[in-house]
């Protein structure tokens, strides 16, 4: 039986697997170290915050996005550029309230949970992907936007979709800074 000699595996897929598997090993280790789900969630959020504060520089350098003028523009960029760049997915964006500072990102495909079948027994309130919330929060803070980012729904916990909620906290200053010509 002839087989193609040493077919090269898809390198970028393996690279993505590296990140996903490392994240899984990290969560497994945290579950061993901390008994309470809230502690694990908080730890993941803090880690994500540290990552996000640094990742935003990498993102801005790679993507060359222009200045944003509204929260919805920012959320669109997070969903369509940032998520696409780092995770290869494009979540859909919905706006949750009329004052236009609460948004939701709906992820129909989440690469981080590719190898997760279900949450371990007794860990029903674990936010497996809480790192993402921390990353978004840290990144936004580095561009001077305070936001609250949490998981509103999570497929691993039995909901139908995975939904990340972003609530921008401070009102943006009305005064526009004129660029010096």
């Amino acid at each position: 039986m002839s087989r193609p000699a040493h077919r090269r595996p898809a390198y970028h897929k393996i690279n993505k697997d590296l990140f996903v598997l490392t994240y899984g090993a990290l969560v497994a280790q945290l579950c061993k170290d901390y008994e309470k789900d809230e502690d694990v969630n908080q730890y993941l959020d803090k880690m994500g915050y540290g990552i996000g504060t640094r990742l935003v520089e990498d993102f801005l350098a790679r993507s060359c996005v222009g200045r944003c003028h509204s929260y919805s523009e920012i959320t669109d960029i997070i969903a369509q550029v940032a998520f696409k760049m780092y995770l290869g997915i494009t979540p859909s964006v919905t706006c949750n309230n009329s004052s236009r500072n609460e948004f939701s990102l709906i992820l129909d495909k989440n690469p981080l949970v590719e190898f997760v079948e279900e949450l371990p027994a007794g860990r029903s309130s674990l936010c497996y992907c809480n790192l993402l919330c921390g990353i978004i929060r840290g990144a936004l803070e580095m561009v001077h936007l305070a936001a609250d980012v949490t998981f509103l729904q999570d497929r691993l916990r039995g909901d139908s979709v995975t939904e990340i909620g972003i609530t921008f906290l401070k009102k943006r200053e009305e005064k526009k800074y004129r660029r010096k010509k």
């Binding site: 393996i14 990140f19 990290l26 497994a28 540290g50 990552i51 780092y86």
Partner: protein, 155 residues
């Protein structure tokens, strides 16, 4: 996909997180390297499974080591191992002159004492990969001058 930055940052956060919880007295200092190495072990096992799904069977141990040095290292760190030495009796030394996880840290002797923390995960990665290929080993790393490092493998 620009996930190299993502993995690098995650790795650095993991190292600092593990050591921070050690400072708070929850875990002894020596355990931190073990924890990181064990995480790397598990990841290495999974990674090598996915990677070698379609590759041909390896002829012998040296073939496996060459695979690790060339294909595996290229996929994970975007470059090959620069030098592989062996005494043909079960000891291998893999030398990487510009180790991806250390290049951002320093280019000389600065922070040399912290380098071992950032190599523990990779030692586990190698050990895990080899373990799933049927080779039980002990992997240690040493750095004499950043970012070059040597991984020593003992069967």
């Amino acid at each position: 996909m620009a996930d190299e930055a993502l993995f690098l940052l995650l790795h650095n956060e993991m190292v600092s997180g593990v050591y921070k919880s050690a400072e708070q007295g929850e875990v002894e200092n020596g355990r931190c390297i073990t924890k990181l190495e064990n995480m790397g072990f598990r990841v290495g096992q999974g990674l090598i499974e996915r990677f070698t799904k379609d590759t041909a069977r390896f002829k012998d141990e040296l073939d496996i080591m060459k695979f690790i040095c060339k294909d595996f290292w290229t996929t994970v760190f975007k470059k090959q191992i620069d030098n592989l030495r062996t005494n043909h009796q079960g000891i291998y030394v893999l030398q990487d002159n510009k180790f991806r996880l250390l290049t951002q840290m320093s280019a000389g002797k600065q922070y040399l004492e912290h380098a071992s923390k950032y190599l523990a995960f990779t030692c586990g990665l190698i050990r895990g990969g080899l373990s799933n290929l049927g080779i039980k080993s002990i992997v240690t790393a040493e750095v004499s001058s950043m970012p070059a490092c040597k991984f020593q493998l003992m069967r």
